[in-house]
Subunit: 310 residues, 2 copies
């Protein structure tokens, strides 16, 4: 892929790290000097810019995700998708599933690894007279592509079902309201479909509980991540200022990786407000404290306003 | 401590994070804007410069360690020690221990938290006619101060015993050879002394085993940390070049935090060579692979040279 004398930093999400050494050897054989990022990587938002800066890399190659960070970077970044084929047998299972359920119209989406087969699958479904809709999420690279941080607002209602092709339930449960239609995750390896409406419901209940806890909280820690696609400094500073005006004690915690382990050593925190990856809020249990997402901060302020002495 | 309108980033090692919110509140009351680093911090070498750069902090205040990073930084750094008193009763226990053992001369050292009482303790021992020697390690801030990365080359031999005042055995076991005299860790909380010569011996045996494994290894990963006081890029690059000349496959892994978790997802690595914190090599078991320290890399090359066809 590269020929020349570049210093290249490779970055792989956890599931692709097992292939990393082969990619490095190939690029090295082409005459490049190659480093691999050994930090955890959770998404396209999570670019290893700090490491690139330290080793003075000419370029980052980020595998397994579509381009995401749109602002101009001080270093060249090449996003290289990594596709995993869904077998013909499993595609047949998907078609049978839709047919057997009697769905005449569905909203379809898939994670990045399967987007190369997305249009073929749509075509096969349409041949069965199933109407397939797929819109582009506000963070997605193309229609039908689902990220783990999408709120599902692009999912079409007025269909018989929403189906996500994804390995694991993580991506599809990001949805920020429970649709009126069944939501299925279709596993591209074993061809099994899982109905997740109850899981979404439970997750949203937990998020509402974090809101209630934040209203009552004495001390609120605001989490700021330095990951390039998650950095929300102004939002964090404004949130702190506003919380102070409601008499809350606040503290700003900043890190690249906001782990329950390092955050857990602080004492005197009642609730976290998370300005980083929206999915951190789902790690509620691991953080040992309620974690309020950015999406509910507006509502928090409304409720605190309503309660404030006039 | 600060009055003014600075944006200050506070950093605490894990054991002091519990006090962080109080320090932040105090500095905020003085009119500063305060952030706290929520990354793990393992030492004075582990300055949160990346986070400071991201939030455009005017200053870092790093608690719990003596000044360490000597090169000019692009941001003001204030190191603030954090002292923990050893009770008079426990000091008496130390004196009794030395007396009861019949030691007439000792090499004494202590971790940073107890350095404010170090000279008093020396004086008390000298009043008992015990000769106390304490030299300055090459990384230490003052004579008698022991860091977890010191190799113990400043420990005086020709005494009856070496005694380290430290909570836990971590710091004292950094020593890179087993002294001919007994080495004790004296716990400043319960006043108990632990003989650690066998622990040091075991640790050094493990390090020698890593050397043997590196000689046999097909693929060696070189670990590079971007932590400001641990960054050894040139050493890593030179090591890679030299290993290649001996026919080894090599790969450079770079991260701020080199955790066994993220490094564990790579495949095809036989041995790690660690150019970061020397104590990573002691995490051998957690890494699941032998970890060779920088101190043994020279010996590795000598042995590979000796084995190479003439």
């Amino acid at each position: 892929m590269e020929s020349g004398n570049m210093r290249i930093l490779l970055q792989f999400p956890e599931g692709l790290k097992r292939y990393a050494l082969d990619y490095a050897a190939k690029l090295e054989a082409d005459g490049n000097e190659v480093f691999i990022s050994a930090s955890p990587c959770y998404g396209a938002c999570d670019l290893c810019l700090d490491e690139a800066r330290h080793i003075r890399a000419d370029k980052i190659i980020h595998y397994g995700h579509y381009p995401f960070i749109k602002k101009v970077l001080d270093i060249e970044v090449e996003y290289v998708p990594f596709y995993i084929d869904i077998s013909p047998a499993v595609i047949e299972k998907l078609l049978s599933f839709v047919k057997d359920k009697g769905f005449r119209s569905i909203s379809l989406n898939a994670t990045v690894q399967h987007m190369h087969q997305f249009k073929d699958i749509v075509k096969r479904l349409e041949e069965l007279q199933v109407k397939v809709v797929y819109k582009e999420g506000h963070l997605a690279a193309e229609p039908g592509h689902l990220l783990g941080c999408e709120d599902g607002s692009h999912f079409q209602e007025g269909v018989d079902a929403i189906i996500t092709i994804a390995d694991g339930l993580f991506h599809a449960t990001a949805i920020s309201k429970v649709p009126s239609v069944p939501v299925y995750v279709f596993n591209p390896y074993d061809g099994k479909a899982t109905l997740i409406n109850d899981i979404i419901k439970k997750r949203l209940r937990k998020r509402r509980a974090a809101l209630a806890a934040a209203i009552e909280a004495e001390t609120i820690a605001i989490l700021v991540s330095t990951k390039p696609g998650q950095f929300s400094l102004s939002f964090a500073l404004n949130t702190k200022k506003k919380l102070a005006s409601f008499g809350k004690k606040t503290v700003l915690l900043v890190a690249n990786e906001l782990s329950p382990e390092s955050v857990g050593n602080f004492q005197g925190i009642d609730v976290f407000i998370n300005t980083a990856c929206p999915r951190l809020a789902d790690d509620h249990d691991r953080f040992g404290k309620p974690v309020l997402g950015m999406d509910l901060v507006g509502e928090l302020f409304e409720q605190l306003s309503a309660m404030a002495p006039k």
